[in-house]
């Protein structure tokens, strides 16, 4: 009887009621009209008279390995592969996703081999991608796109698009989303191996399976990987992995943050900084991203978390703002913490990612600006905003969590549409070294390539779409002389979808 009673009351109830991402997949959209078909019609119409939109059309097939046409000279000390990731499968069966963040991820690889550069592009073969590819149509609703008769979602990994960033971990690639697991791929063939169980080979076992793992992990100079995972319930999981990707420590903190989205964070040599932006949800608005509102009266919360224990040590409230991305943080011996943010004073940039899917241009979206913060031990803080638009901030990889001399960013100088320039800001003198590609180019994230630990050495590398010829080019600059323009440009014979983030993996 004891055993029978036990079986009758077994503890399945609580777990089968978990709702970690309720509202994530089109739950709040009630319109009976096929908004995805309308989005496709609007985009195609806009594209016919606005060729700069071509980078947002998406791709339907992989790109086989192709040698690029080189202008200038490829630096001999660049050996390895530059990987980028971004949403690329936006359309199926006359439907187009309503938000730029919804498409399936595609990895772009630029292999530096034997004096040449080769491009290869491959969709991440997630379970979602494979099912929809086979069906020839979208099967799952996206955050802002409701599909009629959508398949149910039992885990966020059912709809993991692995579309935001890509890092190298122990010889493999991890394609990253922000609401589910990393997806492992082969570094040379881009073949997908499957979702990573973050607790594997550690004391955590399956306790971490399927958890959110943000697309912006920070890899410290020792190689250790730090990250967070956010649940719209306000829970934040903090991860510390070693350089081989084996989890060393994990902790969960509960916050009152109701903004539904948290994209990036920072580390110093002692602390993790989680910055909760001034975002709130307005459930009267449709969609997951669509319901996110900026609250101009809500201060940002900076959570300072001890890296050894992954527990909250103190909090600072700073002026309202919102940032997708942060460059770096570092700490003085007296405990003063410095960090930078690409700060918006509204959430229009987030909603622009919906407008662009319909072919709307970027008019009226105020750009992010690099904003420098100092958090003092007495609880006070200082904020200083730099001139000029700046996002996609990057730093020399050897300076993550320690004081950096330079901050690289992408910005808009002559045009409002996406980005047209790249710059390096000297954090000490404020001097800016900038290169403007001009109105014929749509510029993507550029990343520093280290040749040693000296920030003055090395290169900056990034892709840009050339609008008149509808081709993408890879560009390499001397890090300490950006304004002279690229020293090497490698042309693809075609264009690839505009993406989000990437990293260079040096040949070992």
């Amino acid at each position: 009887m004891e055993r029978r009673q036990l079986l009758k009351t077994l503890a399945a109830g609580t777990a089968l009621t978990a709702v970690p991402l309720k509202g994530f997949a089109g739950q709040a959209i009630t319109s009976s009209k096929d908004s995805l078909a309308v989005t496709k019609q609007l985009f195609d119409k806009a594209l016919s008279s606005a060729p700069e939109l071509i980078g947002f059309k998406g791709a339907t097939k992989p790109f086989n390995k192709t040698a690029l046409t080189i202008e200038g000279n490829i630096p001999k000390d660049i050996q390895g592969c530059f990987y980028r990731n971004g949403a690329a499968r936006h359309e199926r069966a006359q439907q187009r996703y309503n938000h730029l963040f919804e498409g399936d991820g595609m990895i772009q690889a630029f292999h530096f081999e034997e004096g040449n550069i080769y491009h290869q592009g491959q969709f991440v073969q997630t379970s979602k991608f494979k099912k929809e590819e086979q069906a020839g149509k979208f099967l799952y609703s996206g955050p802002d796109s409701q599909i009629q008769g959508a398949l149910p979602v039992s885990s966020p990994d059912d709809i993991n698009t692995a579309n935001t960033n890509i890092i190298s971990v122990d010889g493999k690639l991890w394609a990253l989303w922000e609401a589910g697991s990393p997806v492992a791929l082969s570094a040379d063939t881009l073949q997908t191996h499957g979702v990573v169980n973050l607790g594997e080979n550690s004391r955590f076992g399956n306790k971490l399976k399927g958890l959110a793992f943000s697309a912006h992990p920070k890899i410290d100079p020792k190689g250790d990987i730090w990250n967070f995972g956010f649940s719209p319930s306000g829970h934040i999981v903090l991860f510390h992995l070693n350089a081989k990707g084996v989890t060393q420590n994990v902790n969960m903190i509960k916050t009152n943050y109701k903004g539904a989205m948290l994209h990036d964070f920072l580390i110093t040599h002692r602390h993790i900084l989680i910055i909760l932006p001034s975002l709130v949800l307005d459930r009267t608005k449709s969609g997951f991203f669509g319901a996110i509102n900026y609250d101009a009266n809500l201060p940002m919360d900076v959570l300072v978390i001890d890296k050894d224990t992954l527990t909250l040590k103190r909090q600072y409230k700073v002026a309202p703002g919102f940032a997708f991305h942060y460059g770096n943080a570092w700490e003085e011996p007296n405990g003063t913490i410095h960090f930078d943010a690409c700060l918006y004073r509204d959430a229009n940039a987030l909603h622009f990612m919906k407008n662009i899917m319909q072919g709307d241009q970027m008019a009226g979206v105020a750009p992010a600006k690099t904003t420098l913060y100092s958090l003092f031990p007495d609880g006070k803080y200082k904020e200083e905003q730099l001139e000029g638009s700046a996002d996609f901030p990057r730093i020399h990889p050897s300076k993550v969590g320690i004081r950096n001399q330079y901050l690289y960013s992408t910005g808009s100088t002559e045009v409002e549409f996406w980005f047209d320039s790249v710059s390096r800001t000297n954090m000490g003198s404020g001097k800016v070294d900038k290169y403007v590609y001009g109105k014929d180019f749509v510029v993507e994230e550029h990343i520093p390539i280290a040749t040693d630990e000296n920030e003055d050495n090395g290169y900056l590398m990034g892709t840009a779409l050339h609008i008149p010829t509808k081709r993408t080019c890879l560009n390499i600059f001397h890090a300490n002389d950006m304004s002279q323009g690229p020293i090497c440009r490698a042309w693809l014979p075609y264009h690839i979808p505009l993406g989000f983030h990437g990293n260079f993996v040096a040949k070992s």
Binding site: R3, K8, A15, L16, A18, S154, N206, L211, S231
Partner: protein
């Protein structure tokens, strides 16, 4: 010894696959391996389901592929089944830190949850005077 005897008795009872009138045979498909057991609970009516009060429960050894479980001698009425694949044999459904299941699970009528458990109305079935069948594929 007492515990072993109890388990043996239960196993024999649970292993019964003969479908009688007033019975339901539940087929669980796509069990991914032979580890541990499948634990299934039968609920009579929505109120009992919501309260977590099972009228009967069965435990069978997991087997890769398909497994059938029969609940016999049921009073006529409305029922629903939920189960999970207890791979580590600890009697509870393992979850991750966000509370999401990390072991396989499912429901009668192959009902599926969407960002949460399945709806009772999708799981329910009626038992009367003839044996009935229902099935589920495991969600891992």
């Amino acid at each position: 010894m007492k515990r072993m005897t109890l388990l043996t008795t239960l196993s024999l009872a649970f292993a019964s696959n003969i479908a009688l009138a007033n019975s339901v045979t539940f087929t669980i498909e796509q069990v991914k391996n032979d580890k541990g057991t499948i634990l299934a609970q039968l609920f009579k009516g929505a109120t009992n389901y919501k309260a977590g009060k099972a009228v009967s429960a069965q435990q069978v050894k997991a087997k890769q592929g398909s497994i059938s479980i029969t609940f016999n001698n049921l009073e006529p009425g409305e029922y629903a089944i939920r189960y999970f694949h207890d791979e580590n044999n600890n009697g509870k459904l393992e979850t991750n830190m966000f509370g999401m299941p990390t072991e396989g699970y499912g429901y009668s009528n192959n009902a599926k949850g969407n960002f949460g458990p399945a709806d009772y109305n999708d799981m329910k079935f009626t038992v009367s005077t003839t044996p009935i069948t229902t099935q589920s594929t495991v969600s891992y």
